[in-house]
Symmetry: C2
């Protein structure tokens, strides 16, 4: 990996920072955040502006360029990568280290008095603008919105914004029509006495209209905004995809409809002016509902007194609770996914000893088996296929420079998933194709105990996911071990593999309580730098639990694993399991046998079926 | 309990709300918060202004009086009590219920346009002022500080502010001299580039100067403020207690000292003017450190740009980590406390069957036994002595109207503690003096399992207490049970029985990480309305844990019980315990035997010793 040479680019950027064609007044610093205008986790190539200007293409980082300096803030996952990818025009600001200044403090320390700091108001979330603007103002500087994105002005070969065809999802997949979703949304709006709702997150637009796209890799979304009024629906979207007859029919664009369900299609780029018009026409008691993560530009379009901002939108919360059709779809998707993985692991077991399987080959093979399954669309994230020491790099993705050959002497960790038209999967299995050491088995078993502790936990209705995080760590903690990531994230239904508002983490973000129908991952791990990584991940569905008593009539919840892929028993030290844990493993494997076994049989995959039957033999009682 | 008749008082209050002698302009509403000027949890009689004006004397509640209305906000613990104690001039605002308006919303709904809402700026914390002021301003009203407390102007028989003698604590109790505490504080101030530190919490003043008082019941504190500069120490305190020779000597008031350790004693009431003088004399880069809970009056004395506010002060954090002398003192105090409780339970076992022991008699007897112990000062909180259904009232305190007789048919719950000169105790035991039912034993055993799960937990250095809360609930949750309070609170060393900045709770307040030397309570419970209450509480010390491995060299922590009082084995269903749990109980009881047994022996308390030996027989293995 050689660094990107940015001398010329930085020179150009510093010129446009003073060019009256783009800025009202020269800006002494320009901020280039990571995200797109929708605060997406995964972004399209045309939005990779920070990577373009710096060379650093990790998923998180903020660049700031002043007349003299260029600095990049990123976190511990990316220190090495950023140092490799950036030339020495750049200073790496290692977030999380004690001596690293915040962006605000650094700006204050390097800027001449009374400076202007520019940023694209469409890219910066409103809450972040507020914080930064306040800090700069108190030091005598100004944060100013620069309407034209300055990176775009110098990015001559910037890829076009994707505008790919849409997929329509019928009721058998979504369970609820877009009309009924609009009705439910309007009733939430009425409850809060809100007249308008602005949909800014891409997965929320996709969910609301029962449409999917492929504008962003791994995430079946498309570039669009929506503004929902009590009597109007406006969809801001580009391209001729709205000319597609199935889409027109799905959205009933050519039907005679009650006016409150008539969708007005408008250009993607007109969102700001339309929202400003909404803002200008508000009556004294009107409110406009936005996510507090919406861009500064859109938030500012609504005068302050009329804004109603929440961390989670009603769409985000409704989307998280899957209905029967979605749950059934997720179940089907996970069975197909398990079939693919049984094929893969059976294949690996035969091929690994030959010494010809690399991490990249294994990842490709996993994709090949998945793509043979019905309604497969694409992967749900870049496959983490890692063996030996690479397994300890939590966000590893094999590239030719790091590509390692699987062997019978090293642990193999595969974290992968797919988008099927009926659901999204995300599963991690850790395997050994030779004989694991006692220590490897010990660590694996602690991770398994943590996985089971969460999966089998029973907890009252209304419990937030972060209260379950320590269950996953307890067995590791007892021996002085731990892992430095959260335990679980929300999973979309043929949507983003990471979604809010629930999760299981020691970080107490403002997660919403778990509810029956929510779907999260359960993925504790253990990583030993330079040697191996272990993670056991299932996607699990929150379901009601039967309990002996029912305190205050609150009801209880527990989890049902949707992922049905064998957990390698060879890696388990049975002596370390309680009877309850052993029973959990045996019952889980019994279910894998029955459900996935039947599907393997149906698909005529007999060799993989034999592998499944062997891998799901019950654990024997110790002594 | 008959309600207090407040018609005349409210009339008087409404008059002074318009009286130019007290208010610059008439106020249309007046807020009477619960607290004192130090945001104390326990307050002196002279500070019980809300109880005076309304009759409601629970520990939490805010009264607001307008020209037409009088309303009281309190939480679920006090709905019944407030309804009983207040006459029908008052509207009870039940906090936590969906339809209850916030104070701000209610004010906006009842006030005429452009109203002024008054409050004593010394009583309201700055953060609360900010929130309320903003809400009122956005509705066109003003929150205004009323310097003279309007309740005090009509409270003709208001008790005097207590001004009791001080106790000096020497190094054998405190481990660190007040001079060294000042040095440590100044080094924290230098780290943050702060020139002044304002000590507003009463326990922080007491801790800093190694002094104790008795101005507030149960809390060995005294009314005072302190302002620490890099070269000055100012102590704001009233009365002739500074004339007391031991105090003068302790503080070296008459010695020739380096000027930076010379304590300037000033009148309690001069804090505001002195702080204003500090505020007026600040240089551009100076900062003044205050708790964000300090009163609005004191916070406002420092111009905004110079304030450095934190949720926890460096004193609060230093105070929480007990040194060797404090830890040893706490150990001694808990042994003496255990002696008193062995005597009590032995006595109860003989007396309860006679039917002559009431909750009040039992509480008095507990105090009597405690007062026989060396260095006993007072109780550390009002004893919760409750039997049968009273046990289900979590904050119960027996009064003649509710006083119930202990019997062999009901569970008895005793939550009590004391202040000794060497330490503070807080212990809850749940006992049955007859034969408990299988269901009572089952519930008790779940609570015990939760208690052990926290007490025996091993967790990494840097873990926050709230991450341990679910361990205490897991056994209850498995059966659909739970309890509606936190699991633990910080405990002072001969100081307040509740102190920050650590605790164990499902509520994710901003607790600081647990550190070796911190002391918290471990007190899960289960309560069945109308029948019984169960709670098992030990005070535990955070200590380093030995573990098999040591991930990232972080080190691990666990707890050592300081409380050494037998847990009634009659209440345990041994079948529900794991082997590890059974061993924990047996080892705990073995330690009670050895440590408390030796002290009972030394004190010649042979009957109580026999009781202890019987109660600490090892649990037999089942089957």
């Amino acid at each position: 990996m050689s660094p990107k040479i940015t001398t010329e680019l930085l020179k150009q950027l510093r010129q446009v920072m003073k060019n009256p064609k783009y800025v009202q007044e020269p800006v002494q610093a320009y901020i280039v955040p990571s995200g797109d205008a929708h605060q997406s986790e995964y972004i399209a190539p045309c939005d990779c502006r920070r990577a373009f200007i710096s060379g650093f293409d990790g998923s998180a980082g903020t660049a700031i360029v002043t007349e003299q300096h260029a600095a990049m803030w990123t976190d511990g996952r990316y220190f090495l990568q950023a140092a490799h990818q950036m030339d020495n025009n750049w200073t790496l600001m290692k977030m999380g280290l004690k001596d690293t200044p915040t962006q605000e403090d650094w700006l204050v320390s390097v800027l001449p008095e009374g400076s202007k700091v520019g940023v694209d108001p469409f890219i910066i979330p409103a809450d972040q603008w507020k914080r930064m603007s306040k800090a700069l103002r108190s030091a005598g500087h100004d944060l100013v919105p620069v309407k034209e994105n300055l990176i775009d002005t110098i990015w001559s070969d910037c890829p076009q914004r994707p505008c790919k065809p849409l997929i329509t999802l019928d009721l058998s997949y979504t369970g609820v029509s877009w009309r009924d979703k609009i009705v439910a949304l309007r009733s939430k709006m009425a409850e809060r006495k809100v007249m308008w709702f602005v949909v800014t997150a891409l997965d929320e637009v996709a969910w609301l209209f029962n449409l999917r796209g492929s504008d962003v890799e791994y995430n079946p979304v498309f570039f669009a905004y929506a503004v929902i009024g009590m009597n109007t629906i406006r969809l801001f979207i580009d391209g001729d995809r709205m000319m597609d007859p199935p889409v027109r029919e799905h959205l009933q664009l050519d039907s005679t409809l009650e006016p409150e369900f008539k969708i007005q299609v408008m250009p993607y780029g007109s969102i700001l002016s339309e929202l400003q018009a909404v803002g200008a026409g508000l009556s004294p008691k009107d409110k406009v509902w936005l996510s507090d993560k919406a861009s500064y530009a859109l938030t500012e379009a609504i005068p302050k007194a009329y804004r109603y901002l929440t961390p989670y939108t009603p769409i985000c919360i409704a989307k998280a609770v899957k209905n029967a059709a979605e749950t059934e779809g997720m179940r089907r998707a996970h069975i197909k996914d398990a079939v693919a993985l049984c094929e893969l692991f059976n294949w690996l077991e035969k091929e690994v000893p030959k010494g010809t399987v690399t991490e990249i080959i294994a990842a490709d093979k996993a994709e090949e088996f998945r793509s043979q399954q019905k309604d497969f669309v694409e992967l749900s994230f870049a496959t983490i296929s890692s063996t030996g020491p690479n397994g300890a790099i939590i966000h590893y993705k094999p590239v030719p420079e790091t590509n390692r050959t699987l062997s019978v002497n090293e642990i193999y960790l595969l974290d992968s998933g797919a988008q099927y038209k009926d659901g999204t999967t995300d599963v991690t299995r850790t395997m050994h194709f030779g004989t694991p050491s006692a220590y490897e088995k010990e660590c694996f078993t602690y991770v398994l105990k943590g996985h089971i502790a969460v999966s089998a936990a029973i907890f009252p209705n209304g419990t937030k996911g972060h209260l379950l995080d320590s269950f996953a760590r307890s067995a590791l903690w007892d021996c002085g071990l731990d892992y430095l990531h959260g335990t679980g994230h929300g999973v979309g239904s043929f949507l983003n593999v990471h979604e809010g508002p629930c999760g299981i983490s020691y970080k107490t973000f403002a997660d919403e309580p778990l509810e029956a129908g929510m779907i999260v991952s359960d993925e504790p791990g253990y990583y030993e730098d330079g040697s191996f990584g272990i993670r056991i991940e299932n996607v699990v569905l929150v379901i009601p639990a039967e309990t002996k008593y029912n305190f205050k009539n609150r009801g209880s919840l527990t989890f049902e694993p949707l992922t049905l892929v064998p957990i390698q028993t060879k890696m388990i030290d049975v002596n370390l399991l309680t009877e309850k844990e052993r029973n959990w493993v045996n019952e889980y494997h019994q279910k894998c046998r029955e459900v996935v076994g039947a599907e393997l049989e149906r698909q005529g995959r007999h060799e993989a079926l034999r592998w499944l039957l062997r891998e799901t033999e019950p654990l024997a009682r110790v002594q």
